[in-house]
Symmetry: C2
Subunit: 276 residues, 2 copies
Amino acid sequence: MQRIEHRACFGGWQDVYRHHSQVLGCEMNVGVYLPPQAADAPCPVLYWLSGLTCSEQNFISKAGAQRYAAEHGIILIAPDTSPRGDDVADADGYDLGKGAGFYLNASQSPWAAHYRMHDYVVDELPAWIEARLPATSARAISGHSMGGHGALVLALRNPGRYRSVSAFSPIVAPSQVPWGRKAFTAYLGDDSRAWQAWDASVLVAHAREKLPLLIDQGSDDEFLQEQLRPELLQQACALAGHPLQLRMQPGYDHSYYFISSFISDHIAHHAGALSE
Amino acid sequence: MQRIEHRACFGGWQDVYRHHSQVLGCEMNVGVYLPPQAADAPCPVLYWLSGLTCSEQNFISKAGAQRYAAEHGIILIAPDTSPRGDDVADADGYDLGKGAGFYLNASQSPWAAHYRMHDYVVDELPAWIEARLPATSARAISGHSMGGHGALVLALRNPGRYRSVSAFSPIVAPSQVPWGRKAFTAYLGDDSRAWQAWDASVLVAHAREKLPLLIDQGSDDEFLQEQLRPELLQQACALAGHPLQLRMQPGYDHSYYFISSFISDHIAHHAGALSE
């Protein structure tokens, strides 16, 4: 465990740690924002899952979330988006392999050896955080695009684990869109029955816990029609009676300019749930 | 003139334009944030000058300033930090040549042909902005590091041109520190008398207009002792009776995490002056 960045920010500290993940079998970077309140008492934690091509850096440098985390006294944890290192399998293209872990546990060769981002984010990382940082075990989760998919799937698969969940521009039905079909075929194999356990629009049908889903989606998102398709989750939630607040934001695209414009609402949403 | 980026952000638009600069003799990118108020009426303008190695991208993607510009109805203009292109002179090292224009007009070969960032930022760019965008002629200026130097020098050299000026971590006395001495020697020649017209700590002694200077400086800035030396400006202002508010911010470094933490204060400061 090594602190490789340490920068004062909104009265707290934006840090980056590097640690060994046993689950992933590699060294991982993790962004950690400690709000000023963490100097005095343990704080609840919001996990943020980033999208394709991202590392731990994108969210911490571009979203402007620290201001709101400092206001509400919330720790922000931003892991990397895949295992890393020379001995980790990779593929050509930005949407498979490194930078594209899809927050699942891979079953297929050569991916199964390292690609276990679900277990890393759900189990190993919180245990690591809660043992070493002034963090309570109150957890919330959010993310963007592939990371929005991750946030929804991790919350739906693990009832009781998160107090609240939200997403920006999530891939809500990966089994039905090109990004998801490519990744799931590689990581999980050709049999699409194995994909259902990693698809939010399928998981809501069987969710034991009706955790409300808060989603912001830009209406001018360049990936909206082909990759994101929020109407598929909307239909699934309507059928299942699962609470969903889907906010279409006119004019907004897929970028961090969109995230920065609405991250205050998401952090306020999580702060409410985390303080209950 | 070409709009190469156009992204909804806090109810307004974060754009990037590409235009031909006659003063610089090259194509230049400019970041333009139009707040929501600009859809209805012309708005005042804050010019932001970035530091060494930066382009127009750093401020627009990392500072989180759009939120406050939207609150106050201010246009944010973020130019690049030097002329660009294959026929523009450059040097090894990050602190001379491209990305290091120092907001002056060079007199020495090979720099004099293109390096005229003072005239570009003070004259050509505002004329271009005010002719094409919903901008009033009410102008303010701010910047970071080399761009903090630029903001101070441009305001001090051009009384009446800016309603207000501020800086983060500025190079306040370039004639006396390594970054400035290297750049001034190259751009302006060996005779240090020519440097005085581009040194804020010298210019305050003769300022016709006592525009108050607002400066934020991190106490843990890695460049504080060798390159920034705010005490030299403090002494010069005390001698000249020039109003200076120098805020030392404990624990903060030279990064955009520092800027993002205090940019709201600066934009509020400029908003007050711009609305008078």
